[in-house]
Symmetry: C2
Subunit: 225 residues, 2 copies
């Protein structure tokens, strides 16, 4: 089985392809060429062919890819054919915004619970989701089959939150706290560091304006960093 060797950069691109195919499917197309995909979504057609060749043959010369078959295959590879149940730690502004985030539902992620230590927040509802006492985290994780944790607490509490998450047996974690966390072996951590992204924009703005375009590369896309 080849998929064991897929790098994270590849799975990131597969995510993007799937999203594009979903849009194309809505529009009713049965097949699509790598060139049409690339043109419409500002992607690289050679990269598309290379990435998709990796999973076997979904392309037919002169026809393109079969949209439905490729969608199903990518959905399965990315594990999106099964529900992923999420617990969000931190019921502040960010945590509550995330509880309602459409992207979770689209990716078949269900926010099962929010967790907080603040007695004023515990027991409240955010949309359909209840805020539970962080003290009961492990029990709720077990009872609600939570497999993914989202850390949305201030930086100084993030490492402790991660340790609680790991102790409860969770292997997939998304961290929004602007701090580097130390994970245990076998735990997958994705950090979304808005501050770093902001500071790279700030750096860009702080540079003296350029007369020539020597230092400004034309960018068609800049999906990540």
């Amino acid at each position: 089985m080849k998929s064991e060797k897929i790098s994270e950069l590849t799975t990131n691109r597969l995510s993007v392809y799937l999203r594009c195919l979903n849009e194309i499917a809505v529009a009713g197309a049965k097949t699509v060429s790598s060139k049409a995909l690339a043109d419409r979504f500002h992607l690289n057609s050679a990269q598309i062919r290379k990435d998709l060749a990796y999973f076997g043959e979904f392309g037919v010369r002169g026809v393109g890819y079969y949209v439905e078959a490729l969608r199903n295959h990518l959905t399965k590879i990315l594990g999106l054919d099964r529900e992923n149940r999420v617990g969000i730690i931190g019921a502040g502004r960010l945590g509550t915004a995330l509880a309602d985030y459409y992207g979770f539902r689209k990716a078949n992620f269900t926010v099962a619970a929010l967790f907080d230590a603040d007695p004023k927040k515990i027991g409240k509802k955010v949309g359909e989701t209840e805020v539970k006492d962080i003290k009961n985290f492990a029990a709720v994780v077990k009872q609600d089959n939570i497999e993914v944790a989202v850390i949305a607490v201030p930086a100084e509490f993030a490492q402790a939150a991660l340790e609680r998450v790991e102790k409860a047996g969770i292997k997939a974690v998304m961290n929004f706290a602007p701090v580097a966390l130390k994970t245990s072996n076998g735990v997958k951590l994705k950090s979304i560091d808005l501050t770093t992204s902001l500071e790279s924009l700030s750096y860009f703005l702080a540079q003296p304006p350029k007369q020539s375009s020597r230092n400004v590369k034309p960018k068609v896309k800049d999906r990540r960093e």
Copy 2:
């Protein structure tokens, strides 16, 4: 001037170092070694030395780095000694959460205005920030000296939002819509794609559990992808 050649990965690391130095400064330390920095914040000490050597000498053998001098220098390099004024397009859950996001203030970013097309939202306040009519975007940008735009609209409206932003002369953009955007030359775009990050977690969870640790690399940190 060497700084022209700094890559984005380097500026991302400088962001992280600055954050660590800020913490150390609060604790009262005057100097710090690359090893102490690395140990405390789960970083790579050789990489720290390499990155900081790039900007000239802030380290003294046997002493370490002078915390205050290095902080000031990094703050300047990253453009954080000047205010960056931000306009957020989209006053939905995400946009309003961002308007209140502590990380903005920490990075010397001031959210000057939110923008929306919904008459029910226009004129309302989110904390101190007013929601303005997106139709008046260019005028508000000029009047309020906005230099950074944050796109927090649904995917299908994101490209149009970006074009409006570019027309208003803004050169630095942060995009939260899960879609690849086409930028003009000279515009810096940072995309924060939560869906892709979610799907990479989903992919990880969908893999069969491994008996050995052959495919699970020990990760001390995974700041980005």
